[in-house]
């Protein structure tokens, strides 16, 4: 878990400061510098447009951090709120919200993302974030509802109610803080899921229309895989994505009390 945390922190630090560390502009096209191997001027070489790979990687980290943080934050907030409402009010509210969750679960996730992104000709970051949030909240809602159903029977909730606390007050000052533990595990895995889906969307040509997301780099790298001497390029975004995935999996398993000590 410590390894996972350290790996994750490195990702966040590079995401925050990467653009300042990047030696070149990640959009600067120079066709005289195409497909260069690694050198002292370009530590990781250049791509098919003569763009410095290291700079792409670092700006891509920023992009990945922005997308994953926003999607996870929005989805978690929305999901926890919906789940808490369903678990607290039960009855009709619960029925309606949970049927909605069921339908969302029956609908293949990535397709909804694709469908939303494909509606716009040149999707920006905002559209991609919106698309990923559209079904991202579902998992959080389920976990929150289950937790609230159990928590609402606790004595401290009864005590709060006896003191005259209102429903919303109990929900948001008493229940939600107690949900954050289980939700944290999901939030951790969420970072990995978002980065994977973003990469898949970019690979299908539906990502945010900038050249330096890791997904776009992967798409370019796999397209030029036949070009000997350029094969290492694809490993750069591939390993970057793998890095984050390993980090969140180690971290998430470490945070999960049920799985603690495994792996």
């Amino acid at each position: 878990m410590k390894i996972g945390a350290a790996m994750f922190v490195l990702f966040v630090v590079l995401g925050l400061f990467g653009p300042w560390l990047a030696p070149y502009d990640p959009t600067h096209v120079d066709l005289t510098l195409r497909f260069l191997p690694a050198s002292s001027a370009h530590w990781l070489g250049t791509d098919s447009n003569g763009i410095d790979t290291l700079s792409q990687l670092l700006w891509g980290a920023r992009e990945a951090l922005v997308i994953s943080t926003s999607v996870v934050a929005i989805s978690a907030a929305l999901g926890l709120a919906i789940g808490t409402l369903a678990g607290w009010y039960r009855g009709v509210v619960d029925e309606i919200l949970m049927r909605l969750v069921d339908i969302m679960m029956a609908f293949p996730g990535i397709l909804l993302n694709i469908a939303i992104v494909a509606t716009v000709r040149r999707p920006g970051l905002g559209v991609v974030i919106f698309a990923l949030c559209a079904n991202g909240w579902v998992g959080y809602a389920r976990v929150a509802r289950g937790q609230v159903l159990a928590l609402r029977e606790r004595d401290y909730v009864l005590a709060a109610r006896a003191l005259g606390a209102s429903g919303p007050r109990i929900m948001f000052s008493h229940l939600v803080p107690n949900l954050l533990g289980p939700a944290l595990v999901q939030i951790t895995f969420g970072f990995g899921a978002v980065i994977t889906i973003e990469a898949a969307l970019s690979f299908l040509g539906l990502g945010p229309q900038v050249d330096y997301t890791w997904g776009a780099m992967l798409a370019q790298g796999t397209a030029f895989l036949w070009k000997s001497g350029f094969r290492t390029y694809v490993l750069v975004p591939g390993l970057a994505i793998a890095w984050v995935m390993i980090a969140v999996n180690l971290l998430g398993d470490g945070l999960d009390p049920q799985k603690r000590g495994t792996l």
Binding site: F107, I110, V120, L218, T222
Partner: protein, 311 residues
């Protein structure tokens, strides 16, 4: 509850979910920007041509009538027709069923690869918990999850097709062409299923009946594979069932790398072309398979664990 009434109830609630998905897709298609007529007719269509297309697609009808019309197409088995000139174009159902076998074969083959790799790996990791075997299995599972599917698939093509020439590559057909795509799908599944198998097995191995089985002198292989694994399988089957459902469309990356037709690719094309009838029909078929797979998973529970068999 008899098996018959169990099936009836599940099919009933499944039908409601499918109807929900249908209405949701319908609403979604009408909310999003982008006019299907623009895509079909192109820039220089006359207003008459546009009106004819609109009529052909049924877009001149009120929303409720359009849904009823779609349900009619479900009933007559065509799932709708493609415009313009529906008489000379294959029905939506024909278009979907032309690619279905590719998707189904890939999903089944991928699932087989995944399960065949995951079960022994998970069991071994659970039995040798804390040793290097366990660590190795964890590393294998973690890499299966961590390496992006497109990278893995592309590298597989490069190595086994382009460099070694052992296996057929993209665009080829035949059973051998299924090997690489199935491997790519399977490795990813293996990662998820082996972790599930391991944690489920670790739990079951601590149960009293396993100790009893060992105490009465059963051979270890029988204890593991008959007594323990059978009980450990339930959560694994749940995950496998859910994954099978998402494979129907989730294999879209693999389909792209190997230039294979499939449901996911068909749907992606239909969405980008605003081909409403095909989107609606494909999502319907996917939802039906989802529901059927879920029922099959529940029946499989009963087969494996008589305690939850419906009576």
């Amino acid at each position: 509850m008899s098996l018959g009434s169990f099936l009836l109830r599940r099919l009933g609630s499944g039908a409601i979910a499918i109807l929900g998905v249908t209405v949701l897709v319908f609403a979604f298609l009408h909310i999003v920007p982008g006019d299907p007529i623009d895509h079909l007719a192109g820039g220089e269509a006359t207003p008459e041509q546009r009106a004819a297309l609109e009529h052909c697609l049924g877009l001149d009808q009120p929303a409720g009538a359009q849904i009823v019309a779609f349900l009619g197409h479900v009933a007559d088995g065509t799932l709708g027709h493609q415009c313009p000139d529906p008489a000379h174009k294959p029905t939506v159902a024909a278009r979907i069923f032309a690619v279905m076998p590719y998707t189904i074969f890939l999903a089944i083959a991928g699932m087989l690869v995944g399960v065949i790799l995951a079960l022994p790996l998970g069991v071994l990791a659970a039995v040798r918990r804390g040793t290097w075997v366990d660590t190795l299995a964890s590393v294998a599972a973690l890499s299966g999850i961590a390496i992006p599917m497109m990278l893995f698939a592309s590298l597989a093509v490069l190595v086994f097709f382009a460099e070694l020439g052992w296996l057929p590559g993209p665009t080829e057909t035949g059973p051998a062409a299924l090997v690489l795509p199935a491997l790519c799908v399977g490795i990813h599944l293996m990662a998820m299923l082996s972790r599930m198998t391991r944690s489920s097995m670790v739990e079951v191995l601590g149960e009293d009946y396993v100790r009893t089985a060992r105490a009465k002198g059963l051979p270890e292989s029988r204890v593991l594979f008959v007594h323990a694994l059978r009980n450990a399988l339930l959560p694994v089957i749940t995950v496998a069932g859910m994954q099978f459902g998402s494979l129907l469309t989730g294999a879209i990356i693999v389909e792209k790398v190997f230039a294979r037709p499939g449901l996911g690719t068909t749907l992606l094309e239909a969405i980008t072309e605003r081909d409403y009838p095909v989107v609606q029909g494909t999502v319907f078929v996917i939802a039906v398979i989802y529901v059927l797979v879920n029922i099959a998973v529940d029946l499989a529970y009963g087969l494996i664990d008589p305690r939850i068999r419906v009576r």
